[in-house]
Amino acid sequence: MDETVAEYIRRTVLKIPRDEIKTMLQKWGFLSEAQLQTLNFHQLKDNVSQEVVQLCEENSADIKQAAVLDIIYNHIYQNKRMWSVYQMKKSGEELEYFDITDFKKKFKERLRSALKNVTITFKEYEDNAIWIRVAWGTPHKKPNQYKPSYVVYHSQTPYVFISASVLKSTLPLLCQALIVASNYHDIREMELRSHSLNSLKDIVFKRYSQNFQTYNPKPLQGGNVEPQSADLRIVQENRSEKERIHRLNREVFGDGPQPKLEFAQYRLETMFKSDPKIDVLDKKEPFRCLVKFSSPHLLESLKSLVPAGMADAPLSPLLTCIPQKARNYFKIKDKKGFFPEGFVSP
């Protein structure tokens, strides 16, 4: 077995938390059940990984199998990576039957014709997700297995989720291969990024609970904000206001859990507006400013802002439109015309 493969397997196993090693190796399926029985998982992880490498040596593992183990690890720990969403466009309306073998073949051909040294691995999962791992090399060097790109493609949708390698120059190649393989003619990056792959899927596949405009002005029954305090001597003066806020919040955010995003970034390219008497900036150029909101769970924290009394209702549509517009990176420019206001550029 190649030394580099052995080292790669050893390092991959070291990443796995001790309690998960056995299940992951079972999912991998490369080592037999008998071989797994011989492993002692209660020793130092260093030693466990050495033993695993020994067993892989016996089975003559090559880089292809090692790459599958890596995909399995990254599928389970997908939230450690930062994912971007890309949307592909078809030229016509033809609904072509998707053939997975054809896809894989075209993808490999396209990449290999541009770059000889690549390791390409595919794994399909039950939710129709196709995971692709690509390790990149150069015409003169073998692929670097430690900086791969990962792609998740749901074949029935035009969306691709990419966790790109730090080797930035590989991204255009990757995109090209994807559109060729999937019979689309164009691909563009959406302004949507997060660590939570499932949340990104929820947003673009519209799987989160959305708000629907309710034209019925009758207040919802049982939309009680807080339980009446146990102590009847405490009187809430603004109960009806609180209920109104709660109802508005439900309309904006819906009832279910919000998709998990960590950032919202607004790049302002608007003119600085000051009192015309105080001419602060004589240069009439846009005032560049970047506003970034970050949180372990941004949308849930926005949802709790008004009920917690930290902001006025209604919240700015710039914040609440994030799931509907499927973006968390915005550019705000001045609207040209008589009434300059911020407007969101596409």
Partner: protein
Amino acid sequence: HIATSLPLPSERDHLRPRIDLIVFMIDIKSKYSLKNVEASLAYVDASFFLGKVCFLVTGVGRLNSCSVETNAICKLGEAYCSPVIFCELELEGIRVATAQRLLRILQICAGHIPGVSALSFVSLMRNSDDD
């Protein structure tokens, strides 16, 4: 009675007893709460400022999340001749002690302590440097 801002909703006017003490709570972590209090102060009748108003500043235990300057709050207290009490609601001991203090102030404002009235607070507020 707990309210999020002033003025109080008028539909409950007939259900409300006499108000003896108004405690304005300012969360030191939220500039918004200070603005809310400043806006609500405009709706308070002048007679309350003779000892029946006090400011309660919460969240002082977490100094690294301070958004409001204590200077600004003390100036507010001086401007309205009302005491400012600092506390940390997350610590049970301080919470209980603060509640006891407020209760004492309320007893005086409601006239339950003979010989002491709310006006006493005003005279206690005067800075010795002023004289």
